[in-house]
Structures are given as C-alpha cells and as structure tokens.
Symmetry: C2
Subunit: 267 residues, 2 copies
C-alpha cells in the first residue's frame, strides 16, 4: 500500500534536513521514495541530488508549453534511485505563497505521477502558515500521516501547535509523531516533552545540534550518506522504521493561553 | 502629515517587542500613535495595555452584528494614550492566514478610523510569507515607510530579503531601514552588516539579546516603561527619532544564490 507522508514545521527548523535524511535512510532499505519539496525556499532535495538545486515546477510551467511537458523534466533521480521534485514559490507579494504547491500537485497529477511505482511519497512542507497551498498536503487523499519537526523554542512549538490545529480541521487522526530537532539550548528538551505530553503525541526522534550537519550540507550530501556509521545516522534509520510502522495519533492541540502557560509559565 | 509605517520580519524575531517599545517611545514624546497588530498570534499590543490580550477584529466581527459595531470596541487605549488594535487570524487551515488583516483594514475604514486624529499609524506585520493579507500593509496608500526587523540568523535574513522583494513589487522606494535584534550569537553582527551593505539599506537600530525583555514581558509592560533610564530605552528613543525623520531607501534585494554565498559562504 503506497504511503504518503507530510513533514511540517516552522521555516528553518530543519524540515528539509530531516526529510532528505529520512528519504536517504528509506532508500538505503530499498524503499522507493519520492520527496516533494513544498517550501518556496525550494531546496528540500538538494542533499539527495549532489548539492544541486533542481528546477521548480512553477518555473517549469512558466517556461514550457503544455504539450511539451514531461514528468521526467520535473522529477530528478537522486540518492539510490529516490525521486525528487521541487514545487517552488511565486515572487513574494505576488499571489499566494503556496501557489507553487498547488501547481505542483496539479501538474504531477496531469503528467501521470500516479502511475509511477512508489512505496512512499514524502512532502516537505513549510508550516509557518497553514493555509492556501501549504494546506494542500493535509487534504485526506494527499497524506495518510503528518509528522511535525520542532525545536524547544516557543515560536517553533507555537507553529507545531498551529499545524496540529490545521491538521485537525481536515482529519484529526493522522499524526505520526513529533520530531525534536534541537537548537542546542539545554531547556529545550523539557519544553518539547511538556508539549508532547500535553497533546498526547510522542516524540519519535531526537536530533542534537551538530556542526556535522553543516559539513554534510557543504558536501551536498545527506548526513546518512556522509556519516553512515554515526549515532545520528542510526537515529535516522530508527525514524525510518517508525515511519514504516506508521502508528498514528489524534491531533490534539492547546489554546494559545494553555501553550503560553505551559511553555513560558505565563499567567 | 500623518505617517503610516509597517514593521515586518520573520515570526518570533521581535517585531512586537520592537513595535510596542517604539510606540511607547513615541508616546513619551506626545506623539499620537495607533499600533495595529497584523500577526495571527495577536499579541502585538500586549505590553501597551498592561499585559492583556485585547479582542481581535476577526473575533469581534464574528460576534457583533453590523449595526452594533463601534470603533471604540476594537480600539483599546494604552500607554500614554496610544491606540491599540489587533487584527487576529483565522483558524489554521481554514482560509488565508492573512484574512484577519484584510478584515481589520476594512472594518477600521468602515467605522471611520480616518477621522481619528493621529500622528502615526504603525502596522506590526508577520513577514514569513508576503502574500494575501500580509501584503496589505505594503500597498502604497497603507504605508509610507517599511522597516524590517532581523537577527543575524540565515532564515531571518532570508525573510528580510523576501520582504524587500515583496515591497519592491508594490513601491520600491519606501524602506526606512533595518532593525537588528540580536539572538546573542557573536557572528550575527557581521552577517547583518554584510546584508545591509549588499542591499544598500542602513541598520538604523541595534538591540542586544537581554533577559530584561523577558522581565518586561512578565510585567506586561514595554522595556521603555519599565527601564526608562537604560541604554536599551535610549536605543528605542533613537529609533523613534529615526522613524520621525523618515529617511527612506530603495528596496534592493539579492537572489537566493547571492544571499547564500554572502551569508553562508556557499558556492
Ligand atoms: N540538528 C542540527 N544541527 C545543526 N544544524 C542543523 C540541524 N538541523 C538542521 N540544521 C541546519 O539548519 C539549517 C536549516 O535547516 P533546513 O532543513 O533547511 O530547514 P527547513 O527546511 O525547515 O527550512 C540548515 O543549514 C541545516 O543544515
Ligand atoms: N533583544 C531581545 N532579547 C531577548 N529577548 C527578546 C529580544 N527581543 C525579543 N525578545 C523576546 O522574544 C520573543 C518573541 O518576540 P516578539 O516581539 O513576540 O516576536 P514577533 O512579534 O516577531 O513574533 C518574546 O518573548 C520577546 O520578549
Ligand atoms: S492563503 Fe496563506 S499562503 Fe496563500 S495568500 Fe493567504 S497567507 Fe499567503
Ligand atoms: Mg526546507
Ligand atoms: Mg508579534
């Protein structure tokens, strides 16, 4: 049964890092993955295709006549045969920032992506605002499981809570878990644990802040590819196993007041 | 001549902290300010009204019949007589996240905000995506000057660059300056300086990371009100003077490639 998962989180929190490493770990197991970058920053798949930034779907649509469009032009083959797509985003201020995602979903559909043999599709989605194109992966037929990447910073947990609210509006029983990607402050862990407990969703993976991520980024490779024998690579393999197991939880969320008093001890 | 300024930046970067303190410093000078929070997080004006979170315009619209609506219901009087409004945001996943801003502008207009004697209107606007309602303050008749709050973190500068691109799409000659609000990492200053130089826009204020901001937040007051004799309060007064002087610059921006190579030394 082909799986479709969405990875959401605040911009800059490490979604693409987590996504591309998860894809690499799954690909190492022979699982056929398509990773679709859904962030106007369009660099989700970079570490899977040797550090290159592939052409976005939005750009491709602008430059290619309808009858000349081919699936192969927007799908890049990456690490161990995984497939890579970048939706792209419009010029800031010109239309919905999520428009690239809407266009990408439509084009992939019309070019027959449904006929590509895949085990898992992974959407790497910007979660600062859960609206317009950014909410498209949340639709029931688009993702069976939603994972949320967060650090222990208040704004990141605030975004995670918003993503839970957004998901609940479509189908509340599809949360795969919280992925804790630390910024390196010691009090982060308690905050994420408190949040996870309050919303009844487990932390299914933990990644410490490490300078080696920057090194991997410079090499244009995933951490899993560059440091396969490291503890962090093991953590990505464990995350891959958890994703394949596919356990899901209800999308509970807190009110803003509850969140502030829980995380910041306010009121 | 009544001024209208917009303060943009990545979510969590310190826009509301900067905005409310700027409003306080201007109010200390007897300048009549209206601060309008344009972030779904709707806590922009909290420090100006004693730590309370005022009712949002969106909420007010939902609960009040059209003929019962009064300007006084959505405008709160705050510190030294400044006026405060919160636009609010919709439920995540339900419609455009910027919808509260659109509704707020429309309601304020229809209830006669144009007749209120004001020296300056300040919009505190979420800048992660510059689209939909979040781009409304950028329209020419809405803001004569745009200020951008950033730290030295890449994602914050990336957002600042996006805001410049968004502003350029409406009217490129309205940037009042960059406000550097530091996270506390030593390399931040060089990054912000390099960015400011590359886009030809000066850093008009600098704020170091300080635990006193959290103390002020706990008290429900602005820094300017709680620590009037501090160096930081002086910096807010200097920022107020710069805002009143109103010098403006062209909204130059970098390509993503230029930004990455400048800030991260990539490629
Ligand atoms: N655990 C970590 N330790 C150190 N750096 C990290 C870690 N996770 C991510 N990064 C770095 O943070 C930056 C942002 O990560 P990215 O995956 O692009 O975020 P997003 O996709 O959420 O915008 C990248 O430079 C990345 O290498
Ligand atoms: N210079 C600073 N030093 C320490 N904390 C700060 C500083 N600037 C802002 N903060 C804190 O950071 C948090 C986010 O600030 P806020 O103004 O609410 O951001 P935004 O409005 O951009 O979302 C608040 O808790 C605020 O007190
Ligand atoms: S729906 Fe969301 S992404 Fe689209 S215009 Fe509105 S705020 Fe922007
Ligand atoms: Mg990304
Ligand atoms: Mg704010």
């Amino acid at each position: 049964m082909a799986r479709k998962i969405a990875i959401y989180g605040k911009g800059g929190i490490g979604k693409s890092t987590i996504s591309s490493n998860l894809t690499a770990a799954l690909s190492d197991r022979g699982i056929k993955v398509m990773q679709i970058g859904c962030d106007p920053k369009h660099d989700s798949t970079r570490a899977l295709i040797g550090g290159k930034v592939q052409q976005t779907v939005l750009n491709y649509l602008r430059n290619t006549k309808p009858d000349a469009r081919r699936l192969g032009d927007i799908v890049a083959v990456g690490y161990k045969g995984c497939l890579c797509v970048e939706a792209g985003g419009p010029e800031p201020g010109v239309g919905c920032a999520g428009r690239g995602i809407i266009s990408a979903f439509e084009l992939l559909d019309s070019l027959g992506v449904g006929t590509v043999p895949l085990d898992l599709t992974l959407y790497d989605v910007l979660g600062d605002v859960v609206c317009g194109g950014f909410a498209v992966p949340l639709r029931n037929d688009n993702a069976d499981t939603v994972y949320i990447v967060t650090s222990g910073e208040f704004m990141s947990i605030y975004a995670a809570n918003n993503i839970l609210r957004g998901t609940a509006n479509y189908n509340p029983d599809r949360i795969g878990g919280i992925i804790f990607n630390s910024r390196g402050d010691p009090e982060e862990e308690d905050r994420v644990k408190a949040f996870a407990k309050a919303v009844g969703i487990p932390i299914i993976a933990r990644f410490a802040r490490s300078n080696l991520f920057m090194a991997a980024e410079k090499e244009g490779k995933t951490f899993v590819e560059l440091y396969p024998d490291s503890a962090i690579a093991d953590s990505f393999r464990e995350l891959a196993a958890a994703v394949l197991k596919g356990q899901r939880y209800a999308a509970h969320f807190l009110t803003e007041g509850e969140l502030e008093s829980l995380i910041l001890g306010r009121k």
